[in-house]
């Protein structure tokens, strides 16, 4: 049912002339959760969000937003959502405070007290004309307007673009509070740490198609962890275990990656070898992401071999 889903997108398609921007994209956001939306530039994140906002019309597939149709029910739905663009464009001759007031009044939930509180947290002067704001300050106008609203669903499209690290910290708090208030969030971002910290689920897209989605734990489960051990015995025996890869042994030290399914066997094999130290590192979101694009974090300069490496990575996963 869609009732417990804030957003439900199935096989979404969108063409711009001969360019296929979305090619069967899927995306789900459970109510009250924060969903991360990852993909490189041009992969279709903003197009998806604009379709959900009723700014663009889908060419195929199905999209449901808070139980309504994002195109037909746009105005009604927009009372319940707030949006921050990656590049907030304001009226140059109006102040930031006026812009926030206008956006809040359009939705009908403008609350000066709430706005003031967020203005203070984001350290934004609302009396300056928008044309004198820096990029970061324009983003803050969008963020204050969105967080101060009572919207049930927030669309944040690379919202921390241009914010300083202090303000990114404030942003992280605000998203966590929004979630605590029961609001749903779609966060499109390039900052893995931000997504890892905030998001309950992650959707990774590539060329307009969803290539991976689920909770972070689920995604990690599909990937190998890296294990570093110091042993009394000879680690070479580990190489014969099915599911152990990339073994590098040097005296008593060994580093290897292991499929999560093979973990019990590996642990059983390790105990007789007298482990003195063991560190297991789950794959980072960055590694998960980069694997889909055929770029391994350790060898970013191999980017030119991307297609070959990508198919190799896919084969390895199977």
């Amino acid at each position: 049912m869609t009732s417990n889903r804030a957003v439900s997108v199935e096989s979404l398609e969108k063409n711009f002339g001969s360019t296929r921007a979305l090619d069967g994209l899927n995306l789900e956001i459970e109510t009250g959760t924060v969903a991360g939306f990852l993909g490189p530039n041009g992969s279709g994140k903003t197009t998806t969000i604009r379709i959900l906002l009723g700014l663009l019309r889908a060419d195929g597939g199905r999209a449901t937003l808070l139980g309504g149709d994002p195109w037909k029910d746009a105005v009604e739905l927009h009372r319940r959502i707030a949006y921050v663009a990656g590049d907030v464009t304001l009226w140059p001759s109006l102040t930031g405070g006026q812009a926030i007031g206008i956006l809040g009044s359009l939705r009908g939930d403008h609350d000066p007290k709430r706005v003031d509180a967020y203005l203070e947290r984001f350290d934004l002067d609302p009396t300056k004309k928008a044309r004198s704001y820096s990029k970061g300050n324009r983003q803050k106008v969008g963020l204050v307007a969105a967080f101060a609203s009572r919207a049930e669903l927030l669309f944040l499209d690379e919202p921390t673009n241009g914010l300083d690290p202090l303000m990114e910290g404030v942003f992280t708090e605000c998203v966590a509070e929004a979630k605590a208030e029961g609001r749903s969030v779609l966060l499109s971002s390039h900052i893995f740490a931000e997504v890892e910290k905030l998001c309950d689920t992650v959707t990774i897209i590539r060329d307009g198609r969803t290539v991976e989605s689920g909770t972070l734990a689920e995604l990690r489960h599909l990937q190998r962890s890296t294990i570093t051990v110091t042993l009394e015995g000879n680690p070479r025996a580990l190489g014969s275990i099915d599911g152990v890869h990339d073994l590098v042994a040097d005296g008593g030290h060994a580093t290897f990656t292991v499929d999560s399914a093979a973990l019990p066997k590996v642990l059983a094999a390790l105990s007789p070898l007298g482990p003195r130290e063991l560190v297991s590192t789950p794959p980072s979101l960055e590694e998960l992401f980069l694997r889909h694009y055929g770029v391994h974090p350790a060898s970013v300069d191999a980017e030119s071999d991307a297609p070959a490496a990508a198919s190799a990575a896919k084969a390895a996963r199977r």
Partner: protein
Amino acid sequence: MTSTSTAPTRVASSGDISSGALRNAAAGFGIMIGFIVRRNWLRMLIWLIVLAGMIVLVIDSQRELFPTQADRDAYAQVANTPAIAALTGLPYAAGTLGGILNIKIWMTMAIALSFAVIFLVTRNGRAEEEAGRTELLRAGVLGQHAYSLANWSVFSGFAVLVGLASAGAALSQGLPAAGAFLMGASFTGTALVFLGVAAIAGQLTRTSGGANGLASTVLGVSYLVRAVADVQADGDKANWLTWLSPIGWAQQSRSYGENDWWPLLLCVGAAVILCWIALTLERGRDLGAGLIAERVGPREASAALRTQVGLALRLQRGSIIGWTLGIVAFALFFGGVATAMADLLSGDNPIAQAFIGDSKNVLDGLLGFFLMANALLVAAFVLHSTDSIRAAESAGRTEMQWSSAISRVRWAGARMIVPAVSSLVLLAISGAAIGATFGAAVGKPDQAGRFTMASLAYWPSALLVIGVVVLSAALIPRAAAAVTWALYGVAVVLSMFGDLFSLPDWVSKNTPFTAIPRLDMDFTIVPLLVITVLAVGAGGVGLWVLRERDMTSA
């Protein structure tokens, strides 16, 4: 370039410009000249062709209008009226073709060229700085003043070229060489002064709109000072007040008359001094900043601003005030000069026919023509105002607004109500102003009502402009501005000069402005209804398309 040889030891200190420091500050000047010319050559060429072409057309028409010396002498007897003096300056050599040319076109040429230079200097100066592109250039090996110096040099050169082309156009029509060259030089001289004014305005304000506004205001004041001076002149001898206005200086060179070159030295001197001041100002300020400080604004949106119509009104406040003042000033002039001009136009010459149509009453015909010209001005405002729909989308401001709880139809509707209501008010005010000043001139103070009604008859035409602009913004958002202004240009030419092109009647009498019954004609409601239906149709289809299509990405 030069900077590499001297830069390590020499840092241009603020305060003095020694020659070495200036060379540093101008590093990259030559490259910038090429850069600015490459970005503006077409625009400059069009201005040049239009302005020089106007000279040829006017000489030709005046030769036809006053074919013999006796005609010109007769004209000279009546040329010097206060209205002519105020509008176009003192008619000092009205018995010669060159003198008549100056009466008809000198002021238009000088002001058009000055506006061209102001807009071009701002467009390439303050507007570039506002957009942040100057920062990109200045971060390279480019002296502090190189860009501004190149900007002013290119458009000074443009002013000189237009002057030469105007002289050439006059020579090609057989006017005396001394007068032709001096006339061209006086256009250039006027434009150079306002180039200096624009250079300073670009230093003072932070926005290109502000710079254009400031420089245009100085131009307007110069025009009015000269008008006041010329109305108080003794015969065709200038009043001392004339010397307070740069336009007065250039006009006192009296080409085709006494042919004095020395007043133009004032123009050139003023231009050099103004540019020097602008350079000094530029040295003392930060890139991107203006010297007139940016004021802080309210921290809260007022209740009015939270309505769509209120927001649209607030965003267009400056533009509405400016257009209203301009249109009312024009209307006052129109009404004031009507009687003077009617005396000059006899009903049987072809040019007069073109302007006043088949009217039996020359004066009413002329006033009717003024009311239509006034309506065309109002239509330009309406076009500019409605174009905000396209402009907001192309600037990317619709992204957040259309994501809010407002339908696109309501959003666009508010931006259509503003020009619809303001055009109604503007037509009423300006019609009343023409009627009142005309009535005052002929001692019939009860004229305002009749003129207001005749002016309001053009309201459907203004609504049609709104409809067409919305339709274009919806269908062809990227090309809409160019297409709608081109259509407007065609409408103006057909309405004002349609009869000169010997077009068939069904064309020249059925354009959106000529179809409206004029002051002197019997009123019929049919054309107003037809145009209203077209306006509603175009606007309705436009709104429907706007609702159904994708938003255009910024």
